[in-house]
Symmetry: C2
Subunit: 279 residues, 2 copies
């Protein structure tokens, strides 16, 4: 058992440094805008500058694994370095991998990212519950034992998301609510202490978070919310969309922040300004 749970560490980070989570998404267009090659070396420079600029101004960084995996094992080695450097700098890492499987395979994904000492160790990962929220339990178990965390996909605002996330099971429970209840149940949060299993909910889902019952169901689970900035949501959405959960909501920004690069000074100022804007 780690000394502190992920929920507690995250809650403290937000209290100390505000609610921004900075995406580290080295996609081809952004690398080009930064004048960097679309190669593992380009990714490494992008990651180094991004991490240094936002450290101290954000609750966590959120590298998007897909952009590293595009370059195969060499790209994955860059991701290992980024995660290790963030750990050295005491910056929390939420690795966006959206993994989801069952049994020993789900356990293997958890070991890949949540086992202390693993090459790709992060503080938390995103996971996908298409196989049922309970299928993620092998990862929940390792997370809680290791002071790590999970964010389960719940509600997204892309056009096709509601087809599945709003669908109702044989108890008339919406899929996203089933996921939210499970996250709250297993996350080991209390009235005043955040749980270690959170949800991913888009900041542009309108009233779905309250209407489908997720607001009521989640009292300690942290919310990782993409959709701010370039995608349309602003500070008003924190309370409009998330209500009483606004205080547990992480403002996930990628392009809206990274577009300020590659100059480290401008990037640092942008992170500081966004922190003020959303605090």
């Amino acid at each position: 058992m780690s000394a502190q749970s992920f929920g507690t560490r995250l809650q403290q980070a937000v209290a100390d440094r505000g609610p921004i989570v900075a995406g580290i998404d080295p996609h081809a267009a952004l690398l080009e805008a930064w004048g960097l090659p679309d190669t593992p070396a380009g990714l490494a420079e992008f990651s180094r500058v991004g991490l240094e600029a936002v450290a101290g101004q954000v609750a966590a960084i959120k590298p998007q694994s897909a952009f590293f995996e595009r370059h195969g094992s060499a790209g994955v080695a860059v991701l290992e370095e980024l995660l290790a450097e963030a750990r050295s700098a005491s910056v929390l890492t939420i690795l966006d991998v959206k993994r989801g499987d069952i049994g020993s395979t789900m356990a293997a994904y958890a070991q890949a990212h949540l086992r202390p000492g693993a090459p790709l160790e992060a503080d938390a990962i995103t996971v996908s519950p298409y196989l049922g929220a309970g299928s993620l339990d092998p990862a929940v178990e390792l997370a809680l034992d290791s002071g790590k965390g999970l964010f389960m996909l719940a509600l997204t605002s892309n056009p096709d998301g509601p087809r599945i996330q709003h669908a109702r099971d044989f108890h008339d429970t919406p899929v996203a609510l089933h996921v939210a209840r499970h996250a709250e149940d297993v996350g080991a949060g209390t009235e005043n202490r955040w749980g270690s299993v959170g949800l991913v909910v888009g900041a542009t889902v309108g009233d779905a978070f309250t209407r489908l019952g997720l607001a009521e169901a989640t009292t300690s689970a942290p919310i990782l919310a993409p959709g701010f900035g370039a995608q349309g949501a602003g500070p008003a959405q924190l309370t409009e969309v998330f209500g009483e959960s606004a205080g547990r909501t992480l403002v996930s920004l990628s392009r809206g922040l990274l577009a300020a690069g590659p100059d480290p000074q401008r990037l640092r100022q942008a992170a500081a300004a966004l922190r003020m804007h959303y605090s």
Copy 2:
């Protein structure tokens, strides 16, 4: 545009070498049973022996990415080698990664695995539709353009699976049927030619494949079916569960086959016997 679609290549492989898909799942227990260390070197030996033994007796191999990712970039480098060796030996590869995201991130996962020349290039990958079947379209597009394929998670037999997969949307359509219809729509199959976008359906889902309408909805999509062997299903389930789709169903076997190792001769005999058993 590749000369031949993935669906056509897969159909030919099944006609030539039977319906078995051999999992390459180097999990810790299996490595130990084979007398191999749980290290990248152990994974490499496991992969080399497994591939050599089953080549010629199976329609495809299916490496499970999680077991390689457990070892970080060094494990991913072993996966790259396995995929390259399979390509050299003209063995089709279905990389089991269950990726699922939206927009440019989904495109990046597709580029990681379906772009000719990518370090982790496979012939097909498994994908997860929690964000809606349409969210996978960036991968569909690259797959069809490159002669590659996808298998979308549809129905699984783990206890929690039906909570989401049987849930019904606002048109009263079960989630799994929404996925199946999308796979059939976009897979570019015809009456006599398999599509390049298939489904993952557990061989132990009972009557759900027909009862929820997936059997009727899929006339050209190939079906990747885990659950045979150790997990309980046998040749009878091919027709009981899949009905008229039985001829398009791939019998996915992992432990049931790999347990015959590490002796290459015994492994080869096991693959040949399973091919006879399910043909």
